[in-house]
C-alpha cells in the first residue's frame, strides 16, 4: 500500500516496522458518496475504516454524536466487539483505507500497545496513553529546551573597585552567588566561593578590591542556545556556571543546578523560598515560581493529578505564610484560613480563580478584620491569583466571619435557597483548612452535612446543578456544519466534562458524609461503600484526569496567548485524533454518570 498511509497516526504509531508493512500490504481504499451508511448500528464490520479524506458522522439514532475527520478510524466496537453502538454515515465525499478485520485482530493479539486503542474501557485506554506519553518526556525533552527556559539568576553587576565586603553584601542582598564585575571595558565574574577562599584561605583583608578576586575568562552561552550546548560547554571547560548573553549583553548566570531544576522541576526549592520570605514581595517571587513550575511539569508530561497535587501543596504553603506575615495577633489566635472549590479538592493546576475564606472561633476587633480582609485578598491578587467570579474570597464578609454566624449562613442557603446558594454549599463542601484553628472547618462542615443528609428534597435541589450546563454539551463532539466540511468547533471542557463529574460525586459524597475533598478520593470511598460500581468509579476518575489534562494544556495556551477567557475552550480541530477519540470516550462516561444521578435523585420530575 502507498507510503501515504500514515504510520505516525495513532494507534498505528504503536506498530513495529514489520507490522506496519504487513498492514499496508493488506489495505484497500473505499470511496463513499455523501449519505452512504458505512456501518449500520448493531451491525458488525469486517474492516477498520481510516479516513483519508472527508467526514463521517457518528449518529445515535437522530443525535449526532461526533464527526470524524482525516486520520480518524472507526469503529473499534463493531470490529472487535461484534456490533456497532452507533451508525456511521458519510457526511461528505469520503475516502477511507479499509483494513481487514483479520489483520487488525491479529495485530491486536500481538501488540498490547496497539490493542489498548480497541479497549472499550476508558480507564485502561487512558492508562496506556499516559504510559506512552511519559516515555516521551523526561531527560530528552529537557535537552531540547533552551537556556532561557531554565531558571536563570538575573545578572547583577559590581564595579571592580568595590571591596570584597561590598561584593559579599551584594550577593546576600540579591540572593545571587555570582556577580559580574565591571572593570573598564572588560567584564569578569566573581563568585561567593572566590570571596570565601580569599578570606578564609588567603586571609585577604575585607577591603581588597574585587578586581583581584575576579576572573576575566568568562565562558558564556546565548539565551537561545540549547541546554545541551550549555551542558557540553560546562563539561568541556570544567565550569559549574556559565554567563548568559542576549544581544551581546550579559543577562544572567546559568548554574548546573538550574539544569537539574529543568529535569526535576524545582519544586523542592519553592517551599524554602516560601518559608524564608520576609515580606509579601518575597512571596510574590515564590508565587511566580509555582506558576512557572506548572508549565515546566506539564511540558515534561508529568501526570496531571501529580501536578495538581504538587501545586495545591505549594499554594497552601504560600497562603499559610501569607497569613503568618499579615494577620494581626487577634486573627492569628481565633482564625482559620480555608481554601475551597478546586483549590480545596486539590484539582487546580493553572490558577483560574481563588476560593478562600476565614472562619473565626470568636468575633475579633472590627478594624482588624477589615484590614486583614483587604490585605489578604489584595496580596493574592498581586501574586496573580485572579479574583473569584463568585466572590468567594476572604475580602467578602460572607466568607470571613465567626464560625457560628457562618453555620447560620449555611442554614439560610439550605432553607431559603437563592440562585447562588447551591454553588456556595458545593464550594464550601470542598473546603480544606490550611492554617490556624483547623477544627473550625470540620465543625461547620459537619453541621452542613447534618442539615442536608436525609433531606432528599435538598439533595435533589443540589444535584440538579449537574444539568446546569447540559445544553452546552448535549451535542458532545458535535460539528453541525458537516455539509461543508468540518468547521473548527470548540468545546468547554469545564462545563461539559469536569463540572458534571465533580458535582455529581460531590452530591453523593454529601449524602454519604464522605470527608475527603479530592474527587478521586470521594469516588473511591463511594465505590468502597457500594454506592458506585467499581468500573464506573474507575472510569469517572480516569475521565476527570483526562479532562484536567486537556484543560491544563488549553489553559497554558490561553496564558501564553494572553487570552485567559478562553482557558477552558478546547478547539476540536487542534486535537490529535487520539485526543479526540479519548475525549469522546470521556464524554460518554459523563453522559452515563449524568443519567445515573438524574435517576437517583429523580431529577426528571423537575
Amino acid at each position: 500500500m502507498p507510503q501515504r498511509f500514515d504510520d505516525r497516526n495513532p494507534p498505528f504509531d504503536r506498530l513495529t516496522h514489520d507490522e506496519v508493512r504487513e498492514l499496508r500490504a493488506a489495505l484497500d481504499i473505499g470511496y463513499f458518496p455523501p449519505g452512504t451508511v458505512i456501518i449500520e448500528r448493531e451491525h458488525a464490520a469486517d474492516q477498520l475504516y481510516v479516513i483519508i479524506k472527508g467526514a463521517v458522522e457518528e449518529r445515535d439514532g437522530d443525535a449526532l454524536e461526533a464527526v470524524l475527520g482525516r486520520n480518524e478510524s472507526f469503529d473499534a466496537r463493531a470490529l472487535v466487539h461484534g456490533t456497532a453502538g452507533n451508525r456511521f454515515l458519510a457526511a461528505e465525499e469520503t475516502l477511507c483505507y479499509l483494513a481487514p478485520r483479520t489483520v487488525i485482530l491479529s495485530l491486536i493479539q500481538r501488540n498490547p500497545g496497539f490493542a489498548a486503542f480497541f479497549y472499550s474501557d476508558i480507564s485502561r485506554k487512558l492508562e496506556s496513553y499516559a504510559r506512552g506519553r511519559e516515555a516521551e518526556g523526561g531527560f530528552d525533552s529537557v535537552m531540547r529546551a533552551r537556556v532561557r527556559d531554565a531558571r536563570i539568576n538575573p545578572a547583577a553587576f559590581i564595579d571592580a573597585t568595590e571591596t570584597l565586603e561590598a561584593a559579599g553584601r551584594k550577593m546576600s542582598a540579591c540572593d545571587n552567588n555570582t556577580l559580574f564585575v565591571r572593570d573598564g571595558d572588560r567584564i569578569g565574574i566573581v563568585t561567593g566561593m572566590n570571596l570565601s577562599k580569599a578570606v578564609v584561605l588567603q586571609r585577604r583583608p575585607l577591603d581588597t578590591p574585587v578586581r583581584d578576586l575576579s576572573h576575566f575568562d568568562i565562558v558564556s552561552v546565548e539565551q537561545d542556545d540549547f541546554i545541551y550546548e550549555a551542558l557540553i560547554r560546562m563539561t568541556r571547560r570544567s565550569k559549574r556556571r556559565l554567563a548568559v548573553k542576549a544581544n551581546g549583553e550579559f543577562v544572567g548566570v546559568l548554574e548546573d543546578i538550574d539544569i537539574l531544576g529543568l529535569v526535576a522541576g524545582n519544586s523542592q526549592l519553592i517551599p524554602g523560598h516560601i518559608d524564608r520570605a520576609q515580606t509579601v514581595d518575597d512571596l510574590a517571587h515564590a508565587a511566580f515560581d509555582i506558576r512557572a513550575q506548572v508549565e515546566r511539569l506539564a511540558k515534561q508530561r508529568l501526570r496531571v493529578e501529580a501536578i495538581a497535587e504538587i501545586t495545591s501543596d505549594l499554594n497552601r504553603r504560600l497562603i499559610t505564610r501569607l497569613f503568618d506575615l499579615i494577620a494581626p495577633p487577634s486573627i492569628r489566635e481565633a482564625g482559620c484560613v480555608m481554601v475551597m472549590g478546586s483549590e480545596g479538592r486539590g484539582e487546580q493546576t493553572v490558577r483560574t480563580d481563588q476560593d478562600n475564606g476565614l472562619l473565626l472561633a470568636a468575633p475579633v476587633k472590627a478594624s482588624d478584620l477589615t484590614d486583614f480582609r483587604r490585605a489578604f485578598t489584595g496580596a493574592l491578587e498581586s501574586f496573580g491569583f485572579p479574583p473569584c467570579p463568585g466572590n468567594v474570597m476572604i475580602k467578602n464578609p460572607q466568607w470571613s466571619q465567626p464560625v457560628d454566624d457562618f453555620i447560620r449562613q449555611i442554614k439560610t442557603w439550605i432553607l431559603t435557597p437563592d440562585e447562588h446558594s447551591a454553588m456556595n454549599l458545593g464550594i464550601f463542601f470542598d473546603a480544606v483548612a490550611v492554617t490556624g484553628r483547623t477544627s473550625l472547618v470540620d465543625k461547620a462542615k459537619t453541621a452542613m452535612i447534618d442539615m442536608m443528609r436525609g433531606e432528599s428534597a435538598y439533595l435533589a435541589h443540589f444535584a440538579r446543578y449537574i444539568d446546569q450546563f447540559a445544553g452546552a454539551s448535549a451535542g458532545m463532539l458535535t460539528s453541525l456544519m458537516v455539509s461543508v466540511g468540518v468547521t473548527s468547533d470548540q468545546i468547554d471542557i469545564k462545563k461539559a466534562g469536569t463540572f458534571p463529574i465533580v458535582h455529581g460525586i460531590r452530591t453523593l459524597a454529601i449524602e454519604h458524609a464522605i470527608t475527603p475533598t479530592p474527587t478521586a478520593r470521594r469516588a473511591e470511598a463511594l465505590v468502597a461503600r457500594g454506592v458506585l460500581g467499581e468500573q464506573l468509579g474507575r472510569d469517572l476518575i480516569s475521565a476527570l484526569a483526562y479532562f484536567m489534562d486537556i484543560r491544563m494544556r488549553s489553559q497554558l495556551r490561553a496564558v501564553q496567548t494572553g487570552r485567559p477567557e478562553t482557558e477552558s475552550l478546547v478547539h476540536l480541530a487542534e486535537l490529535t485524533p487520539s485526543d479526540r477519540d479519548l475525549l469522546r470516550d470521556a464524554l460518554r462516561v459523563v453522559k452515563r454518570f449524568r443519567e445515573i444521578i438524574r435517576n437517583r435523585y429523580h431529577l426528571g420530575m423537575f
Binding site: 500500500m1 502507498p2 493488506a26 481504499i29 479524506k53
Partner: protein, 225 residues
C-alpha cells in the same frame, strides 16, 4: 486512440493476433471492474524511450483493490538518461535484476484482461505499451481508456468562458479534489491517485455536481496599481 480506431481494433485485432492465447483481450468484459494504470518511463519519446515500471490496480465498484495489484519493474533495452533517473529514482542497478518487458507483459495482460483502463494521461501509457505489444502480438491494446484529466476537465472547465486558465496538472487535480498527496513518480502511488480521482469524479458526475472555478484570476495580473 479514438473510439473509432478502438472499434476497428476490436474487429480486426483477433484476426491479426499473433498468439491465440491472448484472445481474451478482445472478449467482452463482464467483470464489472476497471483497472487503474500507470507506467514510469525513461522519457517522453515514444520511439526512443522505454517503460521501466508498471503498476495496475483493480477498481471494483467504489473500492480500490490495492491488495490485488500488479506491480513490475522492467529492465530497459537502452541505458537511461540521468534526467529521467532523477524523476523516478529507479537507477540502472535497481533494474538489473528485473525482467524484460517481454517477460513482464503476459502477466500484465492477464491481470488487466479486457477491463477498461483508467489513468492520468492514459493515452501516453497505452501508447508506450502498444510499442512492445505490437512487436510481441501484432496488436494494440483494445481496452477502453478513461483519462481522469478529461473527466476533471469536464467537471471543472466545460463551458468555461474563453480565457479561463486551465490547469490539468496531476498535482493540481489531487489538490483541488482535496486528496492528500501521494509520493509522485512512483507507478503504484500514481495508479492509486488516478483511481481515487476517478472514483471522486465519477461520483460527482453521477450526482450532477460541478467543481467550482475561481473567479477569473487572470484579470488581476494585469491590474495597474
Amino acid at each position: 486512440m479514438s473510439a473509432l480506431t478502438r472499434a476497428l481494433w476490436c474487429k480486426i485485432g483477433p484476426v491479426l493476433l499473433a498468439d491465440s492465447r491472448y484472445r481474451f483481450l478482445f472478449e467482452k468484459d463482464d467483470s464489472g471492474e476497471l483497472v487503474s494504470l500507470d507506467c514510469e518511463t525513461t522519457g517522453f519519446n515514444y520511439v526512443a524511450d522505454d517503460v521501466i515500471s508498471i503498476a495496475a490496480i483493480k477498481i471494483r465498484g467504489t473500492r480500490i483493490l490495492a491488495r490485488e495489484s500488479f506491480q513490475a519493474v522492467i529492465r530497459p533495452g537502452a541505458p537511461m538518461e540521468a534526467s529521467a533517473i532523477k524523476v523516478h529514482q529507479l537507477r540502472q542497478q535497481d533494474l538489473a535484476q528485473a525482467g524484460t518487458i517481454r517477460e513482464v507483459l503476459p502477466d500484465f495482460l492477464r491481470f488487466i484482461g479486457s477491463r477498461p483502463l483508467v489513468g492520468y494521461w492514459i493515452a501516453f501509457d497505452v501508447r508506450m505499451l502498444n510499442k512492445y505489444l505490437f512487436s510481441l502480438l501484432n496488436v494494440h491494446l483494445p481496452n477502453r481508456q478513461i483519462d481522469v484529466s478529461e473527466l476533471y476537465y469536464e467537471r471543472k472547465y466545460a463551458a468555461a468562458p474563453p480565457g479561463t486558465m486551465v490547469d490539468l496538472r496531476y498535482a493540481s487535480i489531487m489538490a483541488d479534489l482535496g486528496l492528500p498527496a501521494l509520493p509522485q513518480h512512483d507507478a503504484f502511488a500514481d495508479a492509486v491517485g488516478a483511481a481515487e480521482i476517478y472514483l471522486v469524479l465519477e461520483d460527482l458526475r453521477r450526482r450532477g455536481v460541478r467543481l467550482p472555478r475561481k473567479a477569473i484570476e487572470a484579470a488581476t495580473d494585469f491590474q495597474l496599481a
